[in-house]
Symmetry: C2
Subunit: 313 residues, 2 copies
């Protein structure tokens, strides 16, 4: 059947994708720590600009994976990738021999720990191109986009992953299988690596203002990501920088996820977006002075935020 799903990390991303799967008949349970009481009682309210509004009542609402009843076909990890997150222990107790482990999370070079921890399970990498917010506990607002790319690791798209893709497609969003999802991650990174930190370090500029004023810097950063991806054996399309620049000009002014986190005083995904990129470059001896500067600056910025927070200001 392959219709038992456990979403671990039912925030703006996880609850939305879980709600889509439930809509097309999957049995969707959630691990949901912060809004546990409210969600257990009332489920989620999903308000989507494109897909309408509906109630999502998970089959099980859990505080942790070990409470899961049954055998999950797909354990879908959707937490934010912040420092100190232990992905293995978040999901291990709900993983059985037949579970596919799907992670819909940001960043590059994040797959190996899952592959190593679950050598007998399919591990599926997911990329979400989505704009959704958790407006209040239990209420998810899906503002725009929603596309999902899925692919098995180290490559290919299994039959079981195809089944999951079909479920998502039937739910009304675009979902594609990628034979080389690691390349897909670098494709996402080439946009995230400039715009996420620049939006924060500029003090809050949207994508349009950044690009209009410092296109050369954006291109230099993208060029470094391009070279790093090539060095890892995942070359990106030759025209990807031009395409990204052109597409970003046509987007409405957009606040990056890092900027939204910054503005809400939440932890940012600096390490998986910039840190892992820089470390990959170093392993492959690719120079990346622009990325290194951004990464160091983000670490300083985070340090200053911590100082202010710890002073109670």
């Amino acid at each position: 059947m392959n219709n038992k799903v456990l979403i671990v990390g039912a925030g703006a991303i996880g609850a939305f994708y879980g709600a889509l799967l439930a809509k097309v008949g999957a049995d969707v349970a959630v691990v949901c720590r912060s809004d546990y009481e409210l969600v257990k009682e009332h489920g989620f309210q999903i308000n989507s600009h494109d897909l309408g509004s509906w109630q999502f009542t998970p089959s099980q609402v859990l505080k942790k994976a070990s409470e899961y009843q049954g055998k999950a076909d797909y354990v879908i990890l959707c937490t934010k990738m912040i420092e100190g997150l232990d992905r293995i222990s978040l999901i291990a107790d709900a993983v059985n021999e037949r579970s596919s482990i799907v992670f819909i999370q940001n960043g590059v070079d994040t797959e190996q720990e899952l592959i190593d921890a679950f050598p007998h399970n399919e591990v599926v990498s997911g990329l979400a191109f989505i704009c959704s917010n958790r407006l209040q506990p239990g209420v998810i607002s899906h503002l725009a986009y929603g596309k999902l790319s899925l692919g098995n690791l180290p490559g290919g798209v299994s039959e079981k992953t195809r089944h999951l893709i079909n479920l998502f497609q039937r739910s009304g969003i675009e979902c594609i299988g990628m034979e080389d999802i690691i390349t897909g991650r670098w494709i996402k990174c080439i946009w995230n690596a400039p715009f996420n930190p620049l939006s924060v370090l500029s003090g809050g500029l949207a994508t349009e203002a950044i690009l209009k004023n410092q296109e050369e810097l954006v291109r230099s950063i993208m060029q470094e990501v391009f070279e790093i991806a090539s060095a890892t054996g995942h070359p990106l399309p030759e025209d990807i920088i031009e395409t990204n620049i052109a597409n970003t000009y046509t987007m409405p002014p957009y606040k990056t996820s890092m900027l939204l986190d910054f503005e809400s005083n939440k932890a940012m995904e600096t390490e998986v977006i910039l840190g892992n990129t820089v470390r990959t470059a170093e392993r492959h001896k690719v120079a990346c002075p622009h990325l290194k500067t951004l990464y160091a600056l983000m670490k300083l910025r985070e340090m200053q935020i911590e100082l202010v927070n710890s002073n109670g200001e």
Copy 2:
């Protein structure tokens, strides 16, 4: 006699150095726009941690240089180096055939416009290593340091400049003549170029925190300045980076001038410290990706400040 001095820009730096010259008998007039009325009536109160407190009553208090009575031996320009500043028109009306034009201002590659505008006058470049503030109109607080380096352009130290150096020395501060003051400017730049922007872009960290956490980035930036200075024919001492790093570790945590401006919502000296450095690098075909990243980020940061200010937030 060479004792008639006009200070143009009598702020925390200009009023302090003017007050020192007046203390040793020079006839010191000031152009002082923002605090004009108060200074005309009461002069300046100087409170120096090292040199005590005294009253400085300028011989003339002027709104603009054209009001100056007499023939200035030294026209000393001390304004902040912000965008749109027209240095020539600020001083031209008070410059006579015998005036030395002295500028005690930040930045590199700032001399040519003065040399071109006043081809028959001595042009003297000055570097102040000082920590002083204008606490309120007419009151200058000199907190620490104070050393001044002076040198003629394009090089050497003229007799008339020696005379000025002597006046400053007699007033109680350290003042030295530099045969190659342009090299002196690069020596100051190698410290300013990393610490000024990093303090702002980090959101307000002092020098110590920056250095402790991102020493490698600081060194990379200093290395670029080192190479740019060499390319212009003004090589810096081989050990300058080590010396700067070691000295900064021994300094008390220090807020840079750019950070102080940033925190007071004042214009920052981004163009003369970073912009001119990057443009000099480009002219001499020296790669400087770290400096370029910082410069672009500072331009974005300034743009965002402008947006916020213009929204009245």
